[in-house]
Symmetry: C2
Subunit: 420 residues, 2 copies
């Protein structure tokens, strides 16, 4: 389903890898983070989501036109990543999805203009329940809905996803709004396989069981093959060379990966940029590129710039859409005819191969992830793969992979400046 | 109009700055690159564009529904950047713009589905005239249009933007399609203020004279203040610390900067990632972030991760859209009430200030660009500012800022692999 290859040599230190693997098992067993077991411990959650959708005629009869996600960061990136990747599949309901996240007024107002609030289903997602962007936008939407609120049957057109006992949970209970809970020990950027992603994705029609089943395939590999997984080799290389190769590029060959890249950037950047046990500032900087577009933008820097980067190529293999470049020879443009009659997918995949070859020749460490079928199952696998890789690296770097203390000061200063 | 501040100390080496400034003047005078004078030498071009639009009833009477840009990299990033930034302004015609760039078939086919080809105006942009993505997509569109091509009045619904005498120019002349020329010495990533950007932007209704006038304000500063511009201080700092601070972040506080960030990434990455005069691989890695969204994604890495980054904050100041957070106090959520009654713009700007303060406290070099009015003039200024900064840095690094030899091998390998 998903194949992985490394194109660089790794002189492993088995002790470092063993320690990291053991720490990960400990994180899982002690519940330091809850994401490891999301693929297997959510049967109740899936039933709850499916029952809720089944019993809500707006959702089960597809009476809504717009699905509005109010949430920022880990509350929206995962859903957006998966929907952007799979949106052309047959499962997908015909519903417009809108992500309201930024307070930027022009953008916000114009995004809201595109929503038919009378025919919308609103999902408010905030782990803490007090995220300032999310609550402010929710207030604005409530204010817009104010007059016709009663006629709107709002109780059936809103759901909340938050931590149990959060202020938002309490509000929702008072208002009798549906609430789905995020496990306490699952942080925002690791939460896409919890209700944070599962509920909106189920509303969109995706098979969330398959998503979890795909994640569980690599979870099983992790538990059974353990430290022999290729993933640990790669993590070790990144760890060993973290100082001189401080930039990790994900070069995804399809525009459908645009949002997935952003999800990866949050996961990687926010998890790994930390002070380690000795108080040193460590971390690796993620960059997301789209092929072939960024061959015309960023490739030059990879090939001739400093050797401070690693590159992971992501490719959709065996993707049989029979759309071809027509057999059309244009006067003066005969030099472009070598692609005539070729499938577009063949060309973009060959672009990936050619670029990968040129990057390897430039002595940049490269690995390749090939996806054979694009569906819920392979997407779940891919999500969990990057989560595991992040955990492995975090363990090697000796940091707390799951917190984000560095963002608190900015929140505190905001409150201070605006409370005056 | 645009204010700039540095929040870090620079111990300038005036000799290095002087040498860079002199090289830039030489680049301008000798025509090594033609972008420097685009704000002042295109009166004919503007007249030609305006005349063409005036005399083409599809454009002058706004009879088209879709504007289709077929072009990749420098042929599309600039137009997209400016349109995304200004699209909510009054000047903007109600036309859907579509950028067809990636060969990714699912994405391409679904993008084309949204176009009403009978009511579309098509612009094909390729400097060389043989860009494989661009020509392949153009062929596909021609093939779709084939049957009704005559009834379509296609000659009036297509324009070509390319180098004089390129294969695409020759084809266009044979077909009697309108052609606008890119000056030979203006490369793709520096071409947005040439017809590459000017023509599509004029079709969209923007005031392209104002765009150039804005660019000319800073061009004049460059010619008059010379090496005393703050820009040279900043460039010198980046140059001096290029090895240990190899990552330059542009943190733009509005979702409307999404495409502008991508334009910056191409400009910076492709210009500065090079082998220098001594054959050493040099370069600086650009990253684009959007505030406040990426406070929830990347900020942690900036604040607690390695000190390998500089950050430029970009902020829309005095931006008076009177949309406020309603005076709505929700039970249990009273801690979020400190923003009630505040304008959204005030909150996002204060988020920018707060984040900037926290990044400065984390000992990361920060500078700030504040835009007082968002319009064609300030946008032109901003574009030219980043182009100058890129040239200054390229001069200091001792590289050819305007070529991209590193991307050739991947093109050659593609041809080799597909010609079999």
């Amino acid at each position: 389903m998903i194949e992985k290859k490394l194109f660089f040599d790794v002189k492993e230190d088995r002790e470092v890898i063993k320690k990291a693997y053991e720490r990960m098992l400990r994180e899982k067993e002690e519940g330091i983070t809850g994401y490891y077991d999301l693929p297997v411990n959510q049967e109740d959650v899936i039933e709850e989501i499916n029952d809720y959708i089944h019993n809500n005629e707006y959702l089960s009869k597809n009476l809504i036109k717009d699905l509005v996600i109010i949430g920022i960061g880990g509350s929206s990136l995962g859903t957006r990543a998966i929907d952007t990747l799979l949106k052309f599949s047959h499962n997908r309901n015909i519903v417009n999805i809108h992500f309201l996240e930024n307070l930027d007024p022009l953008y916000l107002i114009n995004s809201i203009k595109e929503i038919d609030l009378q025919k919308a289903f609103i999902v408010i997602i905030s782990k803490s329940g007090t995220t300032i962007e999310t609550i402010s936008i929710a207030k604005y939407i409530f204010w817009l809905l104010k007059d016709p609120l009663k006629g709107l049957d709002i109780e059936k057109k809103i759901a909340i996803i938050t931590d149990k006992e959060s202020p938002l949970d309490r509000l929702a209970k008072e208002k009798r709004w549906k609430v789905f809970y995020i496990p306490k020990n699952v942080g925002g950027r690791f939460s896409v396989l919890s209700p944070v992603g599962l509920f909106p994705l189920a509303v969109l029609g995706y098979d969330i069981k398959e998503l979890l089943a795909g994640a569980n395939i690599i979870r099983e590999e992790f538990l059974n093959q353990g430290m022999d997984m290729l993933l640990f080799k790669k993590a070790y290389y990144y760890f060993k060379h973290a100082k001189e190769k401080n930039i990790n590029i994900l070069f995804s060959y399809s525009s459908m990966f645009e949002a997935f890249n952003k999800w990866y950037i949050q996961l990687w950047g926010e998890s790994l940029g930390k002070k380690n046990e000795r108080g040193e500032r460590v971390g690796l900087t993620p960059i997301g590129l789209i092929g072939s577009i960024d061959q015309h933008s960023f490739l030059q820097l990879i090939v001739e710039g400093p050797k401070d980067k690693t590159v992971t190529f992501l490719k959709l293999k065996n993707f049989e859409l029979p759309v071809t470049v027509p057999h059309l020879s244009l006067p003066y443009l005969e030099t472009t005819d070598f692609v005539n009659g070729r499938r577009f997918q063949t060309i973009i995949n060959t672009q990936c191969d050619a670029t990968m070859e040129s990057v390897i020749k430039a002595d940049v460490p490269v690995d390749l992830i090939e996806i054979n079928e694009l569906n819920e199952r392979s997407t779940g696998y891919l999500i969990y793969y990057f989560e595991l890789l992040t955990s492995a690296l975090g363990a090697m770097l000796g940091i707390d992979t799951y917190n984000q203390p560095g963002v608190e000061m900015s929140k505190m200063l905001l409150r201070q400046k605006l409370s005056k």
